[in-house]
C-alpha cells in the first residue's frame, strides 16, 4: 500500500471561479421565466343560472345574524362590562372563615339514606353537625351540588322538584348571618337562578319549535297554545309562592318567559317587581335583590331604563334603613364594624349604577349625583357613583368629588376606598389640566394618612398611575418615597408584593426612558423592598423586558448601566431555575451597551460583567462574542493597520477571551470559541495569540466526551466533533507555521489527536477526518492559496512553494491514504460493513478525483482500483443506487 504516491492536482482558483460564474441569458418580456409573477386569468365563463340554493341560504342567514347582532348592540354593546366579570371579583373579595350553614327544610337530599339502625334523633344530630361544619368552600360546593340536582331534577322531568330547589335556594338569600359572605352567597345563588331561568325558557322554546325553530325575534303569535299554557302555569305557580324573597327572585329569573305570553309582559313586570322589593326590610338583602333585577332587566330588556332608575330611587328612598336599629343590632351581634358593613353594599350598588349610567345622558347622571349628595351617610353612594359612572364624567368633576369626599362622615364608609375609586377614574380619563396638581395634592394628603399599610398601599397603588400619567419624575419620586416610608416599618411590604409590583408595572408603562427612570432617586430603594427571591426576580425580569423592548439605541449612560447592572446582578445571584430565560435577558442588556468609540471602556465593562455573571454560561459566551466584535471593530476603525496602542488593545481582547473560555463548562462552546477567537486574533495579526487559541483547541480535543446532552437528551457527539474539525481544518489553511515548531505543526498536531481519540468502535469518523484532511493538504500545496488574511503571511509566502514543503505534504497525504486503505480493507472482511466500505470508498473516490493529480501513475492506478471496486459493489443488491453513478463516471473518465 505504501506504494501510493500523492501529487496534488494544480489548481487555478481564479480560472475556476470564472468558469463557475453563471451565464447571463437575456430574457425578453413575455418569455418564460421561473421567477415571473404569476397572474391568473379566469377563463371560465360564469354560468347564467344563480348559485346553488344552499349558498344563498347560508349567505342570507349570515346577513340576518349580522343584523340581529347590530340590533342587540343598539341597547347593550361590548362596552358594557358584563356581570360575568364582576362575579369572580366578588367571590374573591367577600370571603369568610366563619362557619356557614345551609338550612334546607326539604332535607330529602341529605337525610334520604339514613342507615336503618340509626334513630331519628341521631340523624337529626348528624345533620346539625354537618350544617355547623359547612365552611365557605363547602358552602360553595354545596350550592354547586344544588345546581346539579336542579339540572338532574329537570332532566328527569321532575319540574316541581326543580322549582322547590330554586325556591329553597332563593330563601337562603334572606339569611344574613355571616354577613361578610353575603355578596358571594348572592353570586353563587343567582347562578342557580340563572340556570333555572334558562331551563324554563329553553323548555318552552322547544315546545314552540315544532316543526320549525322559533326565530330569535319571535312574537306572541308564533307561540302555540300548549306552550302558552305551560308558561302561564309557571307564572301561576310562582305567584303562589308564600315567601316574598323566593317569589321575587324566581319570577325575576324567568322574566324573559313573558315574551311567550304577551308583548308588554316584561314592561309591566319589571316595575311591579321593583316595587315589590320595598317589602324587604333588610337593606342589604333589598339592595342585592335590586341588583339582580337590574341585571336580569339589562339582559332581557335593556331598553327599559325607567325600571333601573326606579330601582335606584327606591334604594335612595330606603337608604336610611342602613342605619336602622335592627341593622345596628345585627352588626353588634356579628361583631362587624360599620365601615366593613358598608363595603358589602358596593358590588350591588355599583352594578345598579353601572346599568343606569350605561349610555345615559349627562343630565340624568347629574340628577343622580345631586340626589346622592342630599342624603346623609352618602359616602357609600358616592363611591358607587365614582365606580359606575364613566371615568370621563368623574374626571371632569374630580375637584367636586374631592370636596364631597371631604364632607363625608369619618366613621362611615372608608375614605381610602373613596379616594381609590376616584383615583381609578382619573387614572384612565384626564381631569382638566389646571386642576391636576391640586387633585394629586388633595388626594395624597388623605392617602398618606391611611394607617393600615394594606389599605394604604391599595389606595396608593391606584394613584401611582395618575401621577405617572400626568407628572414627571419629581412627583413620582415623591410618591415612591412616601410608599417606602409607609411600607418599610414592620416589613409591611411583605404582605403587599402584588400591589408593589403593580406600582412598578405602572411606572414602567409611563417611563420608557430609562435614563429618566433610573435617575429617580427612590426607584432602586423601592426595588429593595422586594425581598422575597421569587418576587424580586420577577420584578427585575419585568424591568429588563421593558428595557430590552424599548431601548432602541445602544447606550453608555452611566446611570442606566449602573442600575441595570445592579438589577442583572440581583437576578444572577438569586436564581437557579429559569437560568436560561434570565440569561437571555442579561444578554439582551449586554448587547444594548455601547461606549461608541471608547473601546477600552467597553472592554472594562465586559471585565466587570464577567465578574458579575460568572455563573451564567450563556452570558459569558455573549461576553466573548462582544469582545471579539470589539476587536474586529477596532480593526475596521484602523482599516486593518493597527497602531501600537490598538495592537495592544486587540491583544488585550484576545487575552480576555483566552482567560474566559476555560471557565465554560460546555466543551463545544469552548472549542468553537477558541476557534473563533483564534480567527479574530489572526485577523488582527496577533499570530502568537492565534497560535495559542488553536493549540488550546487541539489539546482540548481528547477531552470531548463520546456523548453529550443536547436539550436534555443524550446524543452522540461524533457529528458535532466532525463538524468542528472540518471547520478547524479550513482555518488551518491560512495559519502560518510557527517558526520554532516544525512544518505543518498544527495539522500534524490535530491529526495526532484524531488518531489517539477514542472513537466509537463501529465508527468511521477517524477515517472520515483523514479523507477531509486531504483537500486541505492539496490546497496547501497550491502556488497561491484559495484565501488568505490581509497582512498575514500564510505558508504560501513563507515557503514559496519550496519542494521540501511540498514533499512533506505529499508524505503526509500518503500516510493518510495508507490509513484509509487499511480501514477499507478491514471493512472488506466483514459482510456486514459492505455498505460502510462502499460509502467510504466513494468519498475517497471523490477526493481523489477533485484534488489528486491523476497524471501521476500510481495515483491513477489507485483511482482505477477504487472505481473498479465501486463497480463491483454496485452490483450487489442493496447498492444499486450507486450503479448508475458509477457507470456514468466510468464513461466520463474514459473519454
Amino acid at each position: 500500500m505504501a506504494a501510493v504516491q500523492w501529487r496534488s492536482s494544480g489548481r487555478s482558483y481564479d480560472a475556476e471561479l470564472q468558469r463557475c460564474r453563471p451565464e447571463f441569458a437575456p430574457v425578453d418580456f413575455g418569455d418564460y421565466h421561473p421567477l415571473k409573477a404569476i397572474t391568473v386569468t379566469d377563463t371560465k365563463t360564469r354560468r347564467g343560472a344563480p348559485e346553488t340554493p344552499a349558498i344563498t341560504h347560508s349567505a342570507s342567514t349570515g346577513d340576518l345574524g349580522r343584523k340581529k347582532k347590530e340590533k342587540e348592540e343598539e341597547a347593550v354593546g361590548a362596552d358594557f362590562e358584563p356581570w360575568s366579570l364582576r362575579r369572580g371579583e366578588i367571590l374573591a373579595r367577600f370571603t369568610t372563615t366563619e362557619k356557614l350553614s345551609i338550612n334546607l327544610f326539604m332535607g330529602s337530599d341529605r337525610g334520604k339514606a339514613p342507615s336503618p339502625g340509626s334513630s331519628a334523633v341521631s340523624e337529626k344530630v348528624r345533620t346539625r353537625l354537618e350544617e355547623l361544619d359547612d365552611l365557605e368552600e363547602d358552602y360553595a360546593n354545596r350550592i354547586e351540588e344544588l345546581n346539579q340536582s336542579l339540572k338532574e331534577a329537570w332532566s328527569s322531568d321532575q319540574k316541581v322538584k326543580a322549582l322547590k330547589i330554586v325556591i329553597q335556594c332563593s330563601k337562603l338569600l334572606s339569611d344574613t348571618s355571616v354577613i361578610q359572605f353575603y355578596p358571594s352567597k348572592f353570586v353563587l345563588i343567582t347562578d342557580i337562578l340563572d340556570t333555572f331561568g334558562r331551563l324554563v325558557f329553553d323548555r318552552i322554546w322547544t315546545m314552540c319549535s315544532d316543526p320549525r325553530t322559533l326565530p330569535e325575534s319571535f312574537t306572541v303569535d308564533d307561540v302555540n297554545d300548549t306552550a302558552k299554557e305551560t308558561c302561564l302555569n309557571w307564572f301561576f305557580k310562582i305567584a303562589s309562592i308564600r315567601e316574598l324573597l323566593p317569589r321575587l327572585y324566581v319570577e325575576a329569573a324567568i322574566l324573559k318567559c313573558n315574551r311567550f305570553l304577551n308583548k308588554s309582559g316584561i314592561q309591566e313586570t319589571l316595575p311591579r317587581l321593583t316595587a315589590m322589593i320595598r317589602g324587604i326590610g333588610d337593606p342589604l338583602v333589598a339592595a342585592y335583590a335590586r341588583a339582580y333585577l337590574c341585571r336580569v332587566g339589562m339582559e332581557v330588556a335593556p331598553q327599559l331604563k325607567d325600571s333601573l332608575n326606579r330601582n335606584f330611587f327606591d334604594l335612595l328612598g330606603s337608604f336610611r334603613q342602613i342605619s336602622s336599629e335592627s341593622v345596628q343590632n345585627q352588626l353588634v351581634l356579628q361583631r362587624v364594624e360599620v365601615p366593613e358593613y358598608l363595603t358589602l353594599y358596593s358590588p350591588a350598588i355599583n352594578w345598579i349604577l353601572q346599568c343606569i349610567a350605561y349610555r345615559a345622558p349627562e343630565p340624568l347622571l347629574m340628577e343622580m349625583m345631586e340626589r346622592c349628595k342630599k342624603l346623609g351617610n352618602n359616602a357609600l353612594l358616592l363611591n358607587s357613583v365614582m365606580r359606575a359612572f364613566s371615568a370621563e364624567f368623574v374626571a371632569a368633576r374630580a375637584t367636586d368629588f374631592i370636596g364631597m369626599i371631604k364632607d363625608c362622615d369619618e366613621a362611615g364608609f372608608p375614605k381610602h376606598l373613596l379616594f381609590g375609586s376616584l383615583g381609578r377614574s382619573v387614572a384612565c380619563a384626564d381631569p382638566p389640566e389646571s386642576e391636576r396638581l391640586t387633585i394629586l395634592n388633595e388626594a395624597w394628603k388623605v392617602v398618606t394618612k391611611v394607617r393600615s399599610p394594606q389599605d394604604y398601599i391599595n389606595c396608593a397603588e391606584i394613584w401611582v398611575e395618575f401621577t405617572c400619567r400626568h407628572f414627571a419624575k419629581r412627583e413620582v419620586n415623591t410618591v415612591l418615597a412616601d410608599i417606602i416610608k409607609h411600607m418599610t416599618p414592620d416589613r409591611a411590604f411583605e404582605d403587599a408584593y402584588p400591589q408593589l409590583q403593580s406600582v412598578i408595572r405602572k411606572i414602567l408603562t409611563y417611563f420608557r426612558d430609562f435614563s429618566v427612570l433610573f435617575s429617580m432617586e427612590r426607584f432602586l430603594p423601592f426595588l429593595d423592598m422586594f425581598q422575597k427571591d421569587s418576587v424580586r426576580v420577577e420584578v427585575c425580569r419585568s424591568i429588563m423586558e421593558v428595557f430590552i423592548k424599548n431601548q432602541v439605541d445602544p447606550t453608555r449612560d452611566p446611570v442606566i448601566l449602573n442600575a441595570m447592572l445592579h438589577i442583572c446582578k440581583t437576578i444572577a445571584l438569586t436564581l437557579e431555575d429559569e437560568k436560561r430565560s434570565l440569561s437571555l435577558l442579561i444578554i439582551g442588556f449586554i448587547r444594548m451597551v455601547s461606549f461608541g468609540r471608547d473601546f477600552e471602556q467597553q472592554l472594562s465593562f465586559c471585565v466587570e460583567a464577567r465578574a458579575s455573571f460568572c455563573n451564567l454560561e450563556s452570558v459569558l459566551v455573549q461576553l466573548i462574542h462582544t469582545v471579539n466584535t470589539l476587536a474586529m471593530e477596532t480593526s475596521s476603525v484602523m482599516r486593518g493597520n493597527h497602531s501600537r496602542k490598538t495592537a495592544a488593545f486587540v491583544r488585550a481582547c484576545a487575552a480576555y477571551s483566552f482567560i474566559t473560555v476555560p471557565s465554560l463548562s460546555s466543551i463545544f462552546s469552548r472549542l468553537s470559541l477558541y476557534l473563533l477567537s483564534g480567527q479574530v486574533a489572526l485577523a488582527n495579526q496577533c499570530l502568537s495569540q492565534a497560535d495559542a487559541f488553536l493549540k488550546a483547541a487541539v489539546s482540548l480535543l481528547p477531552d470531548v466526551p463520546r456523548s453529550i446532552s443536547v436539550e436534555g437528551k443524550l446524543r452522540s457527539s461524533e457529528s458535532f466533533l466532525l463538524d468542528f474539525i472540518n471547520n478547524f481544518l479550513s482555518t488551518l489553511l491560512v495559519v502560518p507555521d510557527h517558526p520554532e515548531h516544525g512544518v505543518l505543526y498544527l495539522v500534524r498536531g490535530l491529526l495526532n489527536m484524531v488518531q489517539d481519540y477514542s472513537w466509537e468502535e463501529s465508527s468511521d469518523a477517524k477515517v472520515r477526518v483523514y479523507i477531509s484532511a486531504l483537500p486541505l493538504l492539496a490546497a496547501m500545496s497550491q502556488e497561491s492559496y484559495l484565501y488568505s488574511i490581509p497582512k498575514v503571511d500564510s505558508n504560501e509566502t513563507l515557503y514559496g512553494g519550496d519542494p521540501k514543503f511540498l514533499s512533506e505534504i505529499n508524505k503526509l497525504c500518503e500516510t493518510l491514504i495508507g490509513q484509509i486503505l487499511d480501514q477499507l480493507k478491514t471493512l472488506g472482511r466483514d459482510e456486514q460493513s459492505a455498505r460502510r466500505q462502499a460509502s467510504m470508498a466513494f468519498s475517497l473516490f471523490g477526493v481523489l478525483l477533485a484534488h489528486g493529480d491523476l497524471r501521476n501513475n500510481k495515483l491513477s492506478q489507485l483511482f482505477v482500483r477504487t472505481l473498479d471496486f465501486l463497480k463491483l459493489q454496485s452490483q450487489q443488491a442493496d447498492m444499486s443506487h450507486l450503479s448508475e453513478t458509477v457507470q456514468r463516471l466510468a464513461l466520463q473518465t474514459r473519454t
Binding site: S174, N224, D225, T226, K228, E229, L232, F235, F236, A239, S240, R242, E243, L244, L245, R247, R272, A275, M276, R278, G279, I280, G281, D282, V285, D314, G317, S318, R320, Q321, S324, E325, S326
Partner: protein, 267 residues
Amino acid sequence: MSVTLDIRLKRANKVYHEGEVVAGVILLVCKEPLQHHGISLNLEGLVNLQLSSKSVGVFEAFYNSVKPIQLISSNIETYHGVFVNIQYTLRCDMKRSLLAKDLSRSCEFIVHSQPQKAKVVPTPVNFTITPDTLQNSRERSALPKFLVRGKLDATNCVISQPLTGELVVENSDVPIKSIELQLVRVETCGCAEGYARDATEIQNIQIAEGDVCHGLPIPIYMVFPRLFICPTLETTNFKVEFEVNVVMVLHDDHLITENFPLKLCRV
C-alpha cells in the same frame, strides 16, 4: 294485550264557556285488532258538598241536603274547595265482550261562567290599622303602638286580574316581622233547616319581610289562583264567598289581622 284509552281536548287550557262545544278526540291505542260493542261519551256536572267534622253532628237531621247535586246547565263555574266541589267531567266508555274488561276514561274540563254584563266599577277601600281600630282585642293596652295606612284598589275583583293596592307602615314601636295577604274561602252548606259556614285559607302571600322602611308604600299584589277560585256564588243549597286578610306579624309575635270581604266576578 294492552289497550289504552285517552281523551284529548282540543283546547290546551281545557277552559270552556256555556254554549260552547267541547271538542277533541278519543285516542285508542292497541297493537292488535280490537272488538268492542260501541264507545259512548258522557258529560257530567256535579256539585259535591262535604260537611266539616265540627258540623257533622248538627247536620245529621238534614242529611239529604248534602248528597251530590247533578248540574243540568253549566252556568256554575268549576271550583275546587274544601267543602264545596264543582266539577265537570267527560267520561268515555268502551263496552267489550264478556271476557274482556270494559274500558273507561274520564277527563275533567273547566267551565268558566259567562262574563257578567254589568261593568265592574272598582271602588277603592282605604284602611287604617292602629291598636284602636282592632276589634276583639282583649289586651289592647298591652299592644305596642303602630300605625299602618293602606288602600285596596277594589274589593269587587275581576278573577283574571290581581288584587292590588298598597300599604304604608307609618310607624311601629316594635319592628315588623312580616306582612302577609291571606286569601280565604268561606263556604256555606245547608238549607232552611240550618247551615254550616267554614272559612279556610286558600293561599298566603308574604308582601313584606322584616323591619320594612317606614313611610314607604309597599305594594299589595296577589294573583288569584286557578281552580280554587270562582265568582262569588250563592245558591239555595250552598254559598261560596271569598275574603282577604291583611296579616301583620310583629317581632314580639303579636298578630294583627284586618279582614276584607271580596266580591269576585268574571268580565
